[in-house]
Every structure is written in structure tokens, then in C-alpha cells.
């Protein structure tokens, strides 16, 4: 009888062990995103994990602030974890205006990356949420493309 408990425990650990091997880690997403960023030089990554929006509530989001420099082209690359349904929407703001986003509502087109040609040194804000407020895990990579 006791041996059968041990075998069940053994089996459970094996299953757990096997599942954790399949889950996509934040680091894997960062590495993947760095490939998507192509020849741009990695600067920073932002890892976001958000729960699904509750009915009647706003979509959850996360905000990061960065300093970007004048006459510089930056790249934002977005990588979604395959373990969650959510597809990340990244919106870039200056102090009070939306400058752009990777998801165009009009066309429904979702871009895996976008470039930003910065003309003014200052603080910029990156807002990240998931389409339809779905649960998601994503990494947004900021990289340096070139001086303009």
C-alpha cells in the first residue's frame, strides 16, 4: 500500500517536471525577441504578465518609462508567450500624446516590431496590454538601430 503511494508521488513529480520543461520562460522570450530585433543592439527588456480582464472592468495594463535620445532610431520588438492566449499591444506615448502602437485597429494588423525615429530627448512611456483583455505573458525589447 505504501509503495503505491510512493509510485503515485513519483508519477506526479514526473508530470510536474515534464510540464515545467515545456513552459516558455521570460529569458527564452527575451532571446527570441533579440532575434526578431535583427541587427539592432539590445538595450532593455520589459517583461509583462497580466491576468485576463474581469467582466465590466478595463483591460489591465503595465507602464514603463524610458529616456530616449534625439536623432536616434529605436526598435521595439514584441514576443508573446505561446503558453497564454494574449497578444500584446504596445503603445508609445510622450508626455501627453500617443505617438504610435504596434496594433492598427483600422486594419486589424498586428506588427511584431516597430521603429521609432526619436527627434526629442526626454521621457517616454510604454503601455502594454493584451488584445481583448486576454491573459498573457510577453516581452517587449527596446533596441538601438542607428543614429539619425
Amino acid at each position: 500500500m505504501r509503495n503505491s503511494y510512493l509510485i503515485v508521488a513519483l508519477f506526479a513529480i514526473f508530470i510536474l517536471n515534464n510540464n515545467s520543461a515545456k513552459a516558455q520562460s521570460g529569458q527564452e522570450l527575451v532571446d527570441l525577441c533579440n532575434i526578431i530585433a535583427d541587427d539592432a543592439t539590445y538595450l532593455k527588456d520589459f517583461q509583462v504578465k497580466l491576468d485576463a480582464a474581469k467582466p465590466g472592468e478595463e483591460k489591465p495594463n503595465m507602464k514603463f518609462s524610458v529616456v530616449l535620445s534625439k536623432s536616434t532610431q529605436y526598435r521595439f520588438s514584441i514576443c508573446n508567450s505561446k503558453d497564454y492566449p494574449g497578444k500584446a499591444i504596445v503603445s508609445l506615448y510622450d508626455n501627453n500624446r500617443l505617438l504610435g502602437t504596434n496594433y492598427l485597429v483600422a486594419t486589424g494588423k498586428n506588427y511584431p516590431s516597430f521603429d521609432f525615429k526619436c527627434q526629442s530627448t526626454g521621457v517616454y512611456h510604454i503601455f502594454i496590454d493584451f488584445r481583448e483583455g486576454e491573459q498573457g505573458l510577453a516581452v517587449v525589447l527596446l533596441s538601438f538601430v542607428q543614429k539619425l
Binding site: V30, T41, Y42, K44, S65, S69, G100, D115, Q119, T121
Partner: protein
């Protein structure tokens, strides 16, 4: 018959023991896997008791500091600007790593980590792998000294530098390691050290640009030095949070002198409408704002001199 019964019991006992050992092995290997995933991910695995945690009153809470601006000073961008101007590499600009063992306090180690991080960015940008090993060794020593050495992949970086291969990976891994250290410090209520690393990177980056501007003056470098007015004001917000610490106070006083000089730098803006266009399949956001930075040569030289004095004070023993 009795012996046979004894033997069966012994075998049963051994079998149980083997199962326990096997379970322990599985648990251990499972935890190792978790640990490796966490290392680069959400940095939750290490919980080192730390004497260097800042325990004074904070004007801005540790949690709020995490929301404050990131990427304040980037060794990549400063070095990229210098290289884009066609300025040749010079080892003379770099801080010496000879006295790293004499950096005894956490304050000194953290700010030194930032200084050498900026130098490593400059070396990597120019593919000077021969000198890189000195700097990654120094960084490893300082990172270990403030208990974040586990995030600095010294072995891989050394191999890449020694073999002079995959130089993009050298840059990628080293920058990422610094980000991991920064994230870990912020998440573990050690933002004071994180702010010192950022300050070290900024001061050394400014020093490099300043020294290059002295020998190779250009409009781009002058503008770069002028726009640091904005960056420094953000850095000061973070540093002033820890001004009750005498070491911080001294650093803040020094940087305050630079900030006072920056009051005479005039920055004006002309707003434009941003646009999103597709270029070769890539979505591009064009800002269309204009920013004008006015800084006289005389003032620029004053700022360069003061920055050099602050930087030399930081790396002196």
C-alpha cells in the same frame, strides 16, 4: 525460512530507500530547472540577507522608484554616437581596473560597477576584445561584492572575448546581465545600489563623450552634452531619495554643481504631428517634433571639466 524472510525484508528496505533517493533526485533536478528559468526571468531565486539595504526614510518609496524612468543612461548609445562620428578608439579614456580590490564599500562597488559597465560598452562598440577581459573581471569582482555576481555570466563573456567571435553576443549578454542586476536590486529593495550603478554609467558616459569632444569637437557632441540636462535631472530625482546617506550626499553635491551649470543650457521645442508609416514592411513611427539645444562652447568646456573631476573622484581610492 527465517533467513529468507529476513532477506526479503532487507530487499524491501533497500527498494524503498532507492525510491526515496530517486524522488529526491527528481525534486532536485526539477528545482534546478526552476532556478535556471528564474535567473533570467523574474529574479526571484536569491534572497540574500543584506547589510547594504538602505533603511533611511525615502521621499519616494522603493516601489515607486521601480516606476521611475528606466534606461536613464545607456553605455551603448553614448559609445554608438562616438563611433558614428568616426572618432578612433582610445584606451586613454577608460578608467583603470588596477585598484578594483580596493573598492571596499558597497557604495564604491556599485558606482564602480556603473563606471566599468560604461567602459565595457565603449570597448564592445569598437570590438576591442583584448581589453574586454580586464573589464569583465573587474565587473565580476564588484558584482560579487554587492551579491549580484550570479547575474554576470563571466564564463561565457570571457569565452566570447577570448575567441574574438560572436561579438554581437558579447554586447547582448553584457548589457542583459547589467539589466538583470538592475532588476534584481530594484525588486529586492536595494534600489539605492541600482541608482548608483546608473549614476556610474552616466558619469563615465559623460566623461567619454566630454573627452572625445575636447579632442574632436563637433555639433553632435555639443548637442549630446547639452541634452544631458534632461537626463541629469531625472538621475537627480532618484539619487536625492537617498541623500540622508553621507556618501550619497557627497555625490549629490558634486552632481548639483553640474546641474547648476546646466541651468544656462536652453532647450526649446517645436511640436509636430507624429505619423505612422510602413517602410519596407516595417512599421515606423516618425515623431516630427523639433528640439533645439543651446549651449555655448565655454559652458560645454566647464561642464566637461567638472564632469571629469567628479568622475576622477569616483574612481580614486
Amino acid at each position: 525460512m527465517l533467513n529468507l524472510h529476513k532477506l526479503v525484508n532487507q530487499l524491501r528496505y533497500m527498494f524503498k530507500k532507492l525510491i526515496y533517493i530517486f524522488i529526491l533526485f527528481l525534486i532536485f533536478s526539477s528545482c534546478t530547472k526552476c532556478k535556471n528559468e528564474n535567473k533570467g526571468n523574474f529574479s526571484e531565486e536569491f534572497n540574500i540577507p543584506d547589510s547594504v539595504m538602505y533603511d533611511g526614510d525615502l521621499a519616494i518609496s522603493e516601489a515607486a522608484i521601480n516606476d521611475i524612468v528606466q534606461n536613464i543612461s545607456s553605455p551603448v548609445e553614448m559609445a554608438a554616437l562616438i563611433k558614428s562620428l568616426g572618432v578612433p578608439f582610445s584606451k586613454d579614456y577608460l578608467a583603470t581596473t588596477d585598484y578594483v580590490d580596493s573598492y571596499t564599500t558597497s557604495f564604491k562597488k556599485a558606482i564602480g560597477l556603473g563606471v566599468f559597465g560604461a567602459d565595457l560598452g565603449y570597448l564592445n562598440m569598437y570590438n576591442k576584445t583584448g581589453s574586454v577581459i580586464d573589464y569583465i573581471s573587474a565587473i565580476k569582482t564588484l558584482a560579487d561584492g554587492i551579491h549580484v555576481g550570479q547575474f554576470f555570466d563571466f564564463t561565457t563573456l570571457k569565452r566570447l572575448a577570448t575567441n574574438n567571435q560572436n561579438l554581437d553576443s558579447l554586447m547582448y549578454i553584457s548589457v542583459q546581465n547589467f539589466n538583470q542586476m538592475d532588476r534584481y536590486l530594484r525588486e529586492n529593495k536595494r534600489s539605492s545600489l541600482s541608482s548608483l550603478i546608473i549614476a556610474g554609467v552616466w558619469v563615465e558616459g559623460m566623461y567619454l563623450v566630454g573627452e572625445v569632444a575636447r579632442k574632436n569637437p563637433s555639433a553632435e557632441l555639443r548637442e549630446k552634452i547639452g541634452e544631458q540636462k534632461i537626463i541629469l535631472s531625472n538621475l537627480m530625482i532618484i539619487l536625492k531619495n537617498y541623500q540622508k546617506d553621507p556618501n550619497f550626499k557627497e555625490l549629490i553635491d558634486d552632481l548639483n554643481e553640474i546641474q547648476d551649470m546646466y541651468k544656462n543650457v536652453i532647450i526649446t521645442y517645436e511640436k509636430g504631428e507624429p505619423e505612422m508609416v510602413e517602410e519596407d514592411g516595417m512599421l515606423v513611427i516618425k515623431q516630427n517634433d523639433k528640439q533645439f539645444i543651446e549651449i555655448s562652447n565655454e559652458l560645454m568646456v566647464k561642464i566637461i571639466n567638472k564632469t571629469a573631476a567628479v568622475r576622477n573622484k569616483i574612481i580614486q581610492l
